[in-house]
Amino acid sequence: MHRYCLILLLLAFPLFGDQLLDKAAENYQSGLHGDTLAEREAGFNQTLSLLMQLKEQNAIDEGALNFWIGNTFFHLKQYPEALYYYYQAKELKPRDQNLEYNIEKTLRELGLERQRESILQKSFFSVPEKLQLFSLFLILGLILISLWIWTRLSWTMSSSIFFFLLSLFLFINVMYVFYFSPIKGVVTHSTLLYREAQKTEDVVSQVPILTGQMVRVIDVVDEGKWLKVLLEDGTVGFLPASSLRLI
């Protein structure tokens, strides 16, 4: 009996995910085409609620989901939140031009300029894509080395080494990204940059850090309540962790 219940539950789960997706799309459309501001806000807020449920289920393409959430926040004019989700989507969809356009647009709304990325900072493939390529090359290498074991054909050995080297390169690259790439964050609440991790301390500058600005997190202090950050111009200071969302 229990087994049947479990099977039914497993069968129902994707259906439930699809229903959420359909419902979210429906609400999003009503938000886009609403005649009044209230209708729009209701539509977009409903969409957000459903998309957040989908995000928790981790059942659909996260890059696309973050893009969608970013768009919904944009229409709700919550630009810092929109940026945060766009940047998250960018990590998973690095070549998406539409996403790039939306980021530029959101930054303009916030009165900010896009920070120039160096060639070293740019990534052509996302980590999931790199993992896919890694597994493809590894499987090919395994097939070829198996052929060599049984047939001793010399070309199978050289080809397998080639694919193993490709997969090794991707593995090292993925590990580097995971362990050594800098942690970034988006300022979601405008705040001053402090010299020390206390609000009673002096500020680095009277000019506040504006919402939507991206910063690099160098250190986490005071049990995670404060973050030591590096701004694009090289300034280092402390921000309350509540003013920032890590990408």
Partner: protein, 560 residues
């Protein structure tokens, strides 16, 4: 790999052996640099030994007499050895060259001795001679002097929020080494320290001046007393040859008077209700950054500029309570920008109704410390045209032009939707990408395991193959047993010889024709025999069964 392993083991063993066999060494010397006649002489004994060795401190002796040696320090050296250093003193000697006899000491109960060494005792320099040994610089003609001044750079009246500078100036002549300093102004008790201390040096007549200043902010009204500041130091001249300092006496001292800073409270008289601590002399203006014609709930950006002279850190956003009945304010804090002597606040406003006709005047109060008065500023009202959001209505039937003017319906939609790129797949199934999770890294151990298993399997298959291979000996026996059947006999004999040649590594495989066999050596003899067998087979010669042929074949087989 094995060679490397043995090489490393040998190196390690050699190192251990050397360390184990390192002898205990004792060396001694006299500090000839400071050895002067009529003065006690200082010397050191250094003992190089292993860390666990016991040095008997009371066993030091010089010329058979006990020597009082004091332990100074122990230093780790290479190879697990340590160097223990002891100091001793000898009575004064005449100037000239002397011999330091061997110093003996017991280590682990065994006596060790240093090698005797010579040392020189220098004549005691006179003051004049000492002067001549001093650096090539001419002797200073000025007497060292030291003077401390404390100052406060502040506006005429200090109020909470005012910025001040606490300054110390050190005036000095000649080289002076400070030995004591009490500088309470730098601690700035009761004030908030702003930034780091600033230090600058300059010349003021005959004095070198070092100025240290600290910016502070007044926090609360009250009188703040700072005790006397005091410094003390010694003037000196440096002997650059001997790298020694010669201090002048007496010590130099300087003291300042007590200082009191009064932070005045803001006067209660005429204090405006909306005063929130701004100190200075300012002007204020408000302007709209977005068009003044808008719809209900659309965003308006209001810029409030406060310009002038004063403490901008005390300038805060003017009170916006007046606006709250007409506008919805953003939950986010307003943006603040500082440029030169101007601070700008940018506020987001959303009109609640279409009846809003203007942004009402905003007021801002500050305290002018020059005039000792409060001042209140008001902005001009900013006119607005706010339109209600209406739903689209069906187009009315066409009417004469005159009437149409009166009944024209303006189709009003909410503020135009900002154009962004929409997600093309929104609403469609968005499956996760296959093989894009970290779990895929399990492929590495699984792959390695599969490769290992396959290699093991192949090895086993090959072993089995070898076991099942019939040897040439067996084939030869088989041939002999088939002598009644010529066809089987010939075939088995041929296979026995060819397999035998394979086993002897003469030919690579038994699947070759007889003609392909080498013509020299044992292979050549076998070739001749097998060709003979073939000729006899196809010639139906009964001589094959003769014992002589069998014997020839058997002899050749054994020879092979």
């Amino acid at each position: 790999m094995v060679i490397w392993k043995w090489f490393l083991i040998s190196i390690f063993s050699l190192g251990t052996l050397i360390a184990a066999e390192s002898p205990i060494e004792v060396t001694s010397s006299i500090d000839t640099y400071n050895a002067y006649e009529t003065q006690n002489l200082k010397g050191t004994v250094s003992i190089s030994h292993r860390s666990g060795d016991q040095i008997d401190k009371n066993s030091f002796s010089l010329d058979g007499k006990p020597l009082d040696a004091t332990f100074v320090k122990q230093v780790q050296v290479a190879g697990g050895l340590v160097l223990s250093i002891y100091e001793f003193s000898l009575p004064p000697q005449d100037k000239g060259l002397h011999l330091l006899p061997a110093i003996q000491v017991k280590v682990n109960g065994k006596t060790y001795a240093s090698i005797p060494a010579s040392y020189a005792v220098n004549p005691l320099p006179t003051e004049t001679a000492r002067e001549q040994q001093l650096s090539s610089q001419p002797a200073p003609t000025v007497k060292p002097e030291l003077l401390l001044k404390a100052e406060i750079s502040a506006p005429a009246s200090v109020f909470p929020g005012s910025h001040l500078n606490f300054i110390y100036k050190f005036y000095f002549v000649g080289d002076i080494e400070l030995t004591k300093e009490t500088l309470p102004l730098l601690e700035a008790t009761g004030f908030q320290i702003i930034g780091d201390k600033k230090v600058k040096s300059y010349q003021d007549q005959k004095y070198n001046v070092q100025e240290i200043s600290q910016e502070v902010k007044a926090l609360k009204p009250g009188k703040y007393h700072f005790a006397k500041s005091y410094i003390e130091g010694n003037g000196y001249r440096e002997d650059k040859i001997q790298r020694k300092k010669y201090y002048f006496k007496p010590a130099l001292k300087s003291e300042t008077e007590e200082i009191t800073v009064e932070v005045l409270p803001f006067p209660a008289k005429d204090r405006p209700d909306n005063f929130n601590g701004a100190v200075g002399d300012f002007k204020m203006a408000a302007s709209l950054l977005t068009p003044g014609t808008a719809f209900v709930e659309s965003k308006l950006l209001l810029a409030i500029d406060i310009e002038g002279e004063g403490e901008f850190s005390t300038v805060k956003l003017p009170n916006l309570d007046l606006l709250k009945n007409l506008f919805r304010l953003s939950d986010l804090p307003p943006q603040e920008e500082m440029s030169g002597n101007k601070k700008r606040f940018i506020v987001e406003l959303y009109p609640i109704t279409a009846t809003v006709a203007e942004i009402p005047p905003l007021s801002f109060s500050f305290f002018n410390p020059q005039l000792q008065k409060y001042a209140t500023l008001k902005t001009e009202p900013i006119p607005l045209q706010i339109q209600e959001i209406k739903k689209a209505e069906p187009k009315p039937p066409e009417k004469p032009v005159e009437e149409q003017k009166e009944t024209k319906v303006i189709q009003i939609r909410p503020e135009k939707m900002d154009e962004i790129k929409e997600l093309g797949d929104a609403g469609k199934n968005l499956p996760n990408h296959f093989f894009s999770y970290w779990h895929i890294l399990w492929l590495i151990p699984i792959g390695l395991l599969l490769i290992g298993l396959q290699m093991l399997l192949r090895k086993k298959v090959q072993e089995q193959k070898i076991v099942t291979t019939i040897t040439s000996e067996q084939l030869f026996e088989k041939a002999l047993s088939r002598s009644s059947n010529p066809s089987e006999y010939f075939e088995a004999m041929k296979q026995a010889f060819l397999t035998g040649l394979v086993e002897k590594n003469v030919i690579p495989s038994s699947d070759i024709s007889i003609e392909e066999l080498p013509q020299d050596g044992i292979a050549g003899q076998i070739r001749t025999l097998l060709l003979k067998i073939d000729a006899l087979r196809y010639g139906n010669d009964q001589g094959l069964h003769e014992a002589s042929f069998k014997k020839e074949a058997e002899e050749l087989f054994r020879k092979m």
